[in-house]
């Protein structure tokens, strides 16, 4: 096998992908029959072993065989092996799609994945084997769904979510109820048509079916909406709805399932259903919040065991989900609540690296999960025993669409009376069109008892609806969005002005509300913030970090960002930037090569060098990326700088100290052609990487220079300096690049005793390649690097 791929590696990439696919499928297909049911074997094996011990020891007449040098025993690794194979397949598929140039632009990934699943299922069937029951409900609900939901909940943009909570709840609760009853009821009517031959399907099974099919699916919505980059409001509306309707679905499902067996529903049952809904929803949120607080509290004490910090986040969240499921509460809402509650506190407590780890792991798991879900959908489609009934299926599809449209339009009409920013027709269309169904519906259908319900028919219809929504709606939504000129997600480079003014306006509105005696939105938000600041933060956040005001945090974040960008763009700094960046002579010399000529000379401020940095940035920045709070699966651009600021603050203080010190020095280190060596840059570089605070020496061939320990933070700065230089010189001249030698250009004043021009020990301790590099990569490509 390896040789085959080797021989053909020269061919085009799609073929390679298909070849890999074929290889793995055959491998998988051939291995499936090597054991009967997966768990049966293992279970049988273990009890068998115990039983064996108690058997008589009379069977000693085992013939002596040659000692097996190489043997094959597949049974005991079967399950993990197959799981790994599937995961590998999914990941390779993901890779493959993005290698094919235009495909990912036209067809959303979810469609491609379902197609792959269909293909795999077909291949397995053709090979004559049994398709494994991949979309087994237990597997789905316990393993595949939680990572996606946790990812969504952890990175949920709280502000827009809370601002639109009323609307979201209306859509989620009332909309789903309406959908369920409308579809269920009319389907029952359709079943009564004599030609359909469905007259044995009662009203309650129909309603049950309606409740299964009516819920908008978060996985599908995420998969499709992420690629269309729609504006924040619409995204959060549809997405929030898909998350919150879980509670409704759970209640309706259990309600109708129970009562289908009994055969009738009374008013009391309906009333209990309503109570049950409240319990399920609020209970789920409560459970999630409790675990969230536990996680935050635990993270307060992890300063000595940083390595396992991410584990707490994951395990507590998963426990929240499972605990909610124990009581038949809404696990999804528990997970969302847990993630959203714990995030601000945990992030203030954990280290930068842990934060990165959590981010990456969540995205990775959720990505793989999503891929697997779609592939499995395809496989399960091929596998299922389908019962196609024209009437049922077509009426389901049509009714779903109609119900969605009517529901959205009428609800918007009501909601708009209470909203300040009304929803336009275009918005309504997108909301209606974005109501995709997905794997949750399928799994719920799969759970049905086939003795009481026409399960096969239901499953067929569900799959048809899913396919329709994912393929037709998923593929056409992007061109429609462009056609209707719906507002897209703004490239929101959040400026400090915006931040200052937004906060100012918040305070202003709160004040005005108080004057009017109106206890509105701002009032309660303000109260919550105060409570949070006064009591909760002190309790859950370690040490001094609880006191940092938000505005300052934001400001430092920006500074760091800019420093990083500056360093990145530093490698592109034209050598026309000669700049003797003098610490004392703060007049920035802007070289004429810079495209932005109108830089005014700043008065001699201590901050002058910061000014210069900013000017350099503004003129030379080529890639100004916004680090958004990302709920986007495919790009990991959640803010890396949200935490670790505290370390940065300390450094900043030190920098300022250093500044003062330097001012006293007469000589000053001149920056050579690339303004790389300037203590400015290095300090900024240092500032940009808070994790550099934890210095770890590595010995992998990085040339080292000694540090002059005169400066308080030289190890870090110098290490970063090396990073920077290497980037700039493209990793040539490793030796030379490390010396802070004055190069030939310009009047060089060797000095700068703090950044010693002698040996400086460089340590490369950044284990992840630096947020800058990653970030840009992430933004460019829609899949995980």
């Amino acid at each position: 096998m390896p040789s085959r791929t080797g021989a053909r590696s020269s061919r085009s990439r799609p073929e390679l992908g298909l070849l890999l696919l074929g290889m793995f499928v055959l491998l998988g297909g051939s291995l499936v029959p090597l054991g009967a049911a997966s768990s049966a074997d293992a279970a049988g094996g273990s009890t068998g072993k115990d039983a064996e011990c108690n058997k008589t020891k009379t069977e000693h007449n085992i013939t002596k065989k040659a000692f097996p040098v190489l043997s094959l025993e597949y049974g005991h690794v079967k399950v993990p092996f197959e799981i790994s194979l599937w995961v590998l397949l999914a990941s390779l598929m993901k890779l493959g799609f993005h290698l094919i140039p235009r495909l990912s632009g036209i067809v959303p990934e979810s469609c491609l994945l379902i197609s792959v699943g269909l293909l795999v299922g077909l291949l397995i069937k053709l090979a004559g084997e049994d398709v494994p029951p991949v979309l087994d409900s237990k597997l789905f609900f316990l393993c595949l769904l939680p990572p996606i939901i946790l990812d969504a909940g952890y990175f949920l943009p709280i502000r827009p979510f809370m601002e639109n909570l009323g609307t979201i709840l209306m859509f989620a609760v009332v909309g789903t109820l309406w959908n369920a009853f409308f579809v269920g009821g009319l389907l029952f009517a359709a079943c009564q048509i004599p030609q359909a031959g469905l007259s044995d399907v009662g009203i309650l099974p129909c309603l049950l079916f309606g409740s299964i099919i009516s819920a908008v699916d978060p996985v599908a919505v995420l998969a499709v909406f992420e690629e269309i980059h729609i504006n924040e409001l619409l995204h959060i509306l549809v997405f929030g709805e898909s998350l919150l309707n879980d509670a409704v679905t759970v209640v309706l499902y259990h309600l109708f399932e129970e009562f289908s067996l009994v055969g009738s529903v009374t008013v009391l049952d309906g009333f209990l259903g309503v109570i049950s809904f409240l319990v399920v929803a609020l209970g789920g949120v409560l459970v999630g919040a409790i675990y969230g607080f536990l996680a935050s509290f635990t993270s307060r004490f992890t300063s000595h065991t940083r390595v396992i910090e991410p584990l707490f986040v994951f395990v507590y969240s998963y426990m929240a989900y499972l605990s909610a499921e124990v009581f038949h509460l809404s696990g999804i809402m528990a997970l969302i609540a847990c993630g959203a509650v714990m995030r601000p506190y945990v992030e203030a407590n954990i280290s930068h690296k842990s934060h990165t780890t959590i981010k990456y792991f969540l995205k990775m798991w959720s990505s793989v999960s999503e891929t697997l879900i779609f592939i499995f959908l395809g496989v399960a489609t091929v596998d299922g025993k389908h019962k196609w009934n024209w009437t049922f299926v077509t009426s389901t599809v049509i009714l779903c669409l109609v119900a969605r449209v009517i529901g959205v339009v009428s609800l918007t009409f009501v909601i708009n009376k209470f909203r300040i920013v009304k929803l336009t027709t275009k918005d309504q269309f997108i909301i209606a069109y974005g109501g995709l169904r997905g794997a949750i519906a399928f799994s719920l259908g799969y759970l049905l008892d086939c003795r009481h319900f026409p399960r096969d028919m239901f499953l067929t219809a569900i799959i048809t609806v899913i396919f329709f929504t994912v393929f037709v709606q998923g593929m056409t939504i992007k061109p429609l969005v462009d056609l209707l000129a719906v507002k897209k997600k703004q490239e929101a480079k959040r400026s400090i002005n915006e931040e200052i003014h937004t906060q100012f306006l918040d305070h202003l509105l709160t004040g005005i509300e108080d004057i009017c005696g109106h206890y509105g939105h701002h009032h309660w938000k303000d109260k919550l913030n105060r409570f949070n600041k006064k009591y909760v933060k002190k309790f859950l956040i370690v040490g001094e970090r609880s006191k940092e005001p938000q505005l300052i945090a934001f400001y430092h974040k920006m500074e760091m960002k800019h420093a990083i960008q500056m360093v990145e763009s530093g490698s592109r700094l034209p050598s026309a930037m000669p700049s003797t960046v003098s610490m004392q002579n703060i007049q920035p010399k802007i070289p004429p090569a810079l495209p932005k000529p109108a830089e005014r000379a700043l008065p001699q401020l201590r901050k002058g060098r910061e000014e210069e940095i900013r000017k350099i940035l503004r003129s030379n920045l080529q890639r100004t990326r916004q680090r958004l709070h990302s709920y986007n699966r495919h790009t990991l651009v959640a803010d890396p700088f949200e935490d670790g600021l505290n370390e940065f603050l300390l450094k900043k203080q030190k920098m300022i100290e250093l500044d003062k010190k330097i001012k006293e020095m007469t000589t000053y280190l001149t920056v050579p052609a690339a303004a790389a060596d300037s203590p400015t840059m290095s300090r900024a570089r240092l500032a940009s990487d808070p994790q550099s605070y934890h210095v770890r020496p590595t010995a992998d061939g990085v040339p080292s220079i000694q540090v002059d320990l005169a400066s308080p933070d030289s190890p870090d700065s110098v290490k970063l300096l090396d990073e920077f230089r290497q980037a700039e010189k493209q990793e040539q001249d490793e030796d030379q690049g490390l010396m802070m030698r004055p190069p030939s250009s310009g009047p060089n004043k060797p000095g700068g005793k703090d950044e010693a021009k002698e040996q400086q020990k460089l340590m490369r301790c950044l284990s992840d390649p630096g947020p800058g590099a990653d970030e840009d990569e992430d933004e460019d490509e829609p899949f995980l690097p």
């Binding site: 915006e498 509105l509 709160t510 005696g517 109106h518 005014r600 201590r606």
Partner: protein, 194 residues
């Protein structure tokens, strides 16, 4: 509310006010009741002390600035029409109003709201937010949690970002531009209760 129309007559110039500010009769009445509530001594106008009596305002970092905004420069009292005019800025904007060019910009439009906010920064009303004015606001908002030099560098940074015509101050247009991504209608509107 059958009684509203009769009470409306106690409010002087109520029709004019409604016309000018766009408040409905019910809203206006409610505001009048609030005005009377704040005006404890029944003077018919409000003084700064009356505003300060509102408890939550004392914990608001920019409480003083807000109170100050109600009073025109030099004046020490606020009568009901002025009160209403200021609050009119916070009415949700109507989208479909047809405006002829001659009408002045309504107070509750985006621009009107922004102008109001701008004036809160720009105390000396010279049309620009100077560094010092920005520093004052920042100082008030950050309530001594940061050092002076951090404040200065923040203010410096803010001015640099926003200041496009390089005059070391933020004009109204620059202010508007820096807030272009924020939905001002949404941000600066209060849902007045009926």
């Amino acid at each position: 509310m059958g009684s509203s129309s009769s009470n409306l007559n106690t409010i002087p110039n109520s029709q004019e006010l409604m016309q000018e500010t766009g408040f409905s009769a019910a809203h206006l009445l409610r505001l009048y009741e609030r005005f009377e509530f704040l005006d404890k001594d029944n003077k018919g106008h409000l003084r700064p002390e009356d505003f300060e009596a509102v408890q939550e305002l004392s914990t608001n970092p920019i409480g003083d600035i807000i109170i100050g905004s109600f009073f025109s420069p030099g004046q020490e009292t606020v009568d009901f029409p002025s009160f209403v005019r200021i609050l009119a800025h916070f009415r949700p904007a109507e989208k479909n109003r047809t405006r002829d060019g001659a009408q002045p910009e309504p107070a509750n439009s985006s621009t009107g709201k922004l102008k109001f906010a701008f004036q809160l920064y720009d105390r000396d009303r010279d049309g620009k937010i100077s560094r010092e004015e920005l520093l004052q606001v920042l100082r008030a908002m950050l309530e001594m949690q940061v050092t002076e030099e951090q404040l200065e560098s923040m203010a410096e940074r803010a001015i640099q970002e926003a200041d496009l015509d390089e005059d070391d101050a933020i004009s109204f247009d620059e202010f508007k531009k820096s807030l272009e991504k924020v939905n001002i209608d949404h941000k600066m509107s209060i849902h007045f209760m009926k």
